[in-house]
Subunit: 204 residues, 2 copies
DNA sequence: AACAACGTGGTACGGTCGTATCACGAAAAT
DNA sequence: ATTTTCGTGATACGACCGTACCACGTTGTT
């Protein structure tokens, strides 16, 4: 058995096990023993690296948010600045929709955390839940660029439109999650709203 | 001690106790003993009227959805058909935002149920979560009426706009709930979207 | 008047959960 | 080479949870 283990790596391994089992059985149903089994380690190990369950949950959320942030940024970046602000905004918003299994898990677990944070002060204090303003700012900037280039509907308020698009994506995401709507239908609705923001005079 | 008690009334009393404590401490933290204490009855009584916890939760959701449906309908109705479709749509959507304590509790508990239903098949089978199509249909009708009266933006697709508005309201509602946004800010955004749907040609 | 069914309280049981304790082997330090 | 620290396992403990069981008074029925 190797000694002098990399703590950060182990914590990540365990946190990802937490996210997996939370995505499968729901965050409310995850116990320390489940996480240990999923990660392939003993219960004692989970206790060793995260002394308490609360700390495990906190770290799990932190890790989840970071991973998803990277994912969305990667997608938005791969569309590239070359493709124009409209394409960038679209891929940013679509990347946040629970279409594949990974983003579905993210949405479910993240929403679970959000709901938990309403009644659990320790979670509410975490910055990942209280400042999703990053996405809002990024999208607002994108819209302002498009506006300066004359690509947007006249009279558009960039910040309001950004808030609208993000809230819409969040609402649609939840709809998909609970099975009210298909990913395709949600995508269509989201594109429709984008079309309206980016339509130039005289079109339509 | 009175015998021959009204079962329906008792069940309602207990279900409302469930909703209250769920709104206060989170649905995940609700136990039978908590519900009993909140309702002012013994644990045995809760077991007597709802044999199992699952049945209690199911009934609680049913009751919650019914009460909120009445609330929204009452608000939309009080705006009256006289005030026009725009005002009716607005009060319908604003009534679903968690502004006061009652709707805040509703949103929190309802969202908790929604999240639970993703991983709990028994809850997902409930019709209150799987068909909120009623609101969508009602709003679509409203928009079609307005469309026929020439009150809406040209080229508007009533169903898509209804879906958009409802998803937007849901997303904004969650934002309010977790403290990202104030009710006022959310109301402004929602009104803005309504303005766009109802704007006539030549204005703007 | 006797009996059956309903409503209610108290309490106990089995299980699970988060956490704590004890023990031990392997690496690092001296 | 010895000692100390680190990583790991197994197991125990106390609390709580949902549920089941038992007993008793009250009300309606015959």
């Amino acid at each position: 058995m190797p000694k002098r283990v990399d703590h950060a790596e182990r914590r990540t391994q365990i946190a990802e096990a937490l996210v997996r089992v939370a995505g499968r059985r729901g965050l409310h149903a995850v116990g320390m023993r489940d996480v240990a089994a999923e990660a392939g380690v003993s219960l004692r190990l989970v206790q060793y690296y995260f002394e308490t369950k609360e700390k495990l949950l906190l770290y799990g959320l932190e890790h989840l948010a970071a991973r998803f942030g990277e994912r969305v940024a990667a997608r938005a970046g791969s569309a590239g600045a070359a493709a124009g602000p409209r394409a960038t905004a679209e891929s940013l918003l679509l990347a946040s929709l629970p279409t594949d299994e990974e983003s579905r898990t993210f949405h479910l677990v993240y929403t679970s955390y959000a709901v938990l944070s309403v009644t659990e002060p320790a979670l509410a204090a975490q910055p990942f839940l209280q400042r999703p303003g990053a996405a809002e700012d990024a999208l607002t900037d994108l819209l302002r660029q498009a506006q300066a280039a004359g690509l947007t509907r006249p009279g558009l308020d960039a910040r309001t439109e950004a808030i609208t698009l993000l809230a819409l994506a969040a609402g649609l995401g939840t709809s998909i999650l609970v099975g009210h709507r298909t990913p395709d239908a949600a995508t269509t609705v989201l594109r429709h709203q984008l079309d309206r923001a980016f339509e130039r005079e005289g079109r339509d």
